[in-house]
């Protein structure tokens, strides 16, 4: 399957929740040292629920499209639900097979989210290494 398919390109072209929040409860930014892609996530939390989310940054189609999809997925969810999102969930969400280098692109947004919200370091799925 071609990784440059319509759905991903649509998210890349018209990302959901792109931008920043004026007074976020959580704001975090990280990069992928392999390629320099950089993503920031701003969250507004109320009663443990993600009320509002924005992301911004620069990167390739995969990292930006995955970030856009992730913001759609987490809005309205509790922090506990979000904490349980795994690497596999992201791969399902992106929906196409990716090589190991591009997997890191797809996971960048989740990495930013987990580091910002829970202080979890490392790439989702390999934190314990």
């Amino acid at each position: 399957m071609n990784i440059y398919q319509e759905e991903l390109l649509d998210h890349y072209e018209n990302p959901s929740n792109y931008g920043t929040l004026p007074n976020p409860d959580i704001s975090h930014e990280e990069d992928n040292p392999l390629c320099g892609d950089r993503i920031r996530m701003d969250l507004l939390i109320e009663d443990d629920i993600i009320k509002e989310v924005r992301f911004c940054g620069h990167g390739c189609t995969i990292s930006l499209a995955a970030a856009s999809m992730l913001t759609e997925k987490i809005k309205g969810k509790t922090l506990t639900e979000v904490k349980n999102i795994t690497r596999e969930d992201i791969m399902d969400m992106v929906g196409i097979p990716l090589g190991p280098v591009r997997v890191k692109c797809a996971l960048l947004a989740l990495k930013v989210l987990k580091a910002g919200a829970y202080g979890i370091k490392g790439w989702p799925g390999e934190e314990e290494q």
Binding site: N2, I3, Y4, L9, Y12, E13, L34, C35, G36, D37, R38, H58, G59, C60, T61, I62, R102, C105
Partner: protein, 419 residues
Amino acid sequence: MTQKTMHTSDFRPLDVQAIREDFPIFAETPPLAFLDSAASTQTPRPVVEAMDAYYDTYRSNIHRGIYRISEEATDQYEKARQKVARLINAPRTSEVIFTRNTTESINLVAYSWGSLHIQQGDEIVLTDLEHHSNLVPWQMLAQRTGASLRYLEITDRGLLDFTQLQDVLTEKTKLVAITHVSNVLGTINPIQSVIDAAHAAGAKVIVDAAQSVPHFHVDVQQLDCDFLAFSGHKMCGPTGVGVLYGKMELLDDMPPFLGGGSMIRSVERDISTYADVPAKFEAGTPSIAEAIGLGAAVDYITQAGLASIHVHEQELTKYAHERLQEIESITMYGPAPHQKAGVISFDIEGIHPHDVAGILDTHNVAIRAGHHCAQPLMKKLDVIATARASFYLYNTIEDVDRLCEGLQKAQTLMIRRNK
């Protein structure tokens, strides 16, 4: 041997089609357009066959066995060293040390030579063009010793700014570590002038030749460099073997890098005496098959002719520059084709280099995208990453055409959508 970078006398055009037949990876149709030899090259049959012969018929450890096949293995391993020595015109075969790769060769010098000669207050001169492997070992040495690093900068065109040379080289300079060819911009540095100036200032010079030795003739006696490092896997050889050349008078004085078997003369409980160079720097069982494979790779590229390889790559580079210029909103980094090796870094406005490489991959065209292990240089160029195409003896005009077609397709796919 009057030419600096090539022997015009041994020039004959490459028979690229015949060469390609030696590389099974190009057998499929349409063939893989492999444009990432600067990262690692493909392997011709004779190299694999030389290693197979070792594994199938005389596999054994070297420098130990009394039996016939061990003598054969030792003999072939040492013959590979002779071939490498001849390739770079080392005065003595024993000045060629086998390592794992360029990185290990440079670290060997940083630890061993560095521990003896670098002290607080000393300066090590690098350039903006260095690969992390000729940068991080010197940072680590500077941190261990209190020495500091200075950089010779590049101009906008990606050439070293020689007007700074006299300022950067001072009586504190103990070492200049410089790449011969930039793996990002392709810049061929006039290292002869740098070496001469460094020597005049009383400093030693280590040359990172990872991107030069595979592509044109490099003569260590003519250059008079003190150390020179390169990797087998970038010159049609296998992974796992690299080379450090050093002047004997320096190597002789240097302490060992790693301790263990093979590098000793005698061992007592509290003290050992060390073997002579090169064994002193080859602790443990080395990459025997790989060294033998590297010997076969040296034969392979010298039979093709280094001057011919260089001319072929220059033609491809010139053609690629012309073709790439036709592509809308492309930026090419680095010097003009005649000032560089077969490496082209570029960026297409509005398409991330990862996507460029990803889309090309769907057309069976392999290029590199990223920071190319040269983050300080990326910062200097004010880019986060670039796409890079690089050429070797097996590449063709068709490979370049397929690159350009793939880029056109990437543009139709992405740019149209962007606005």
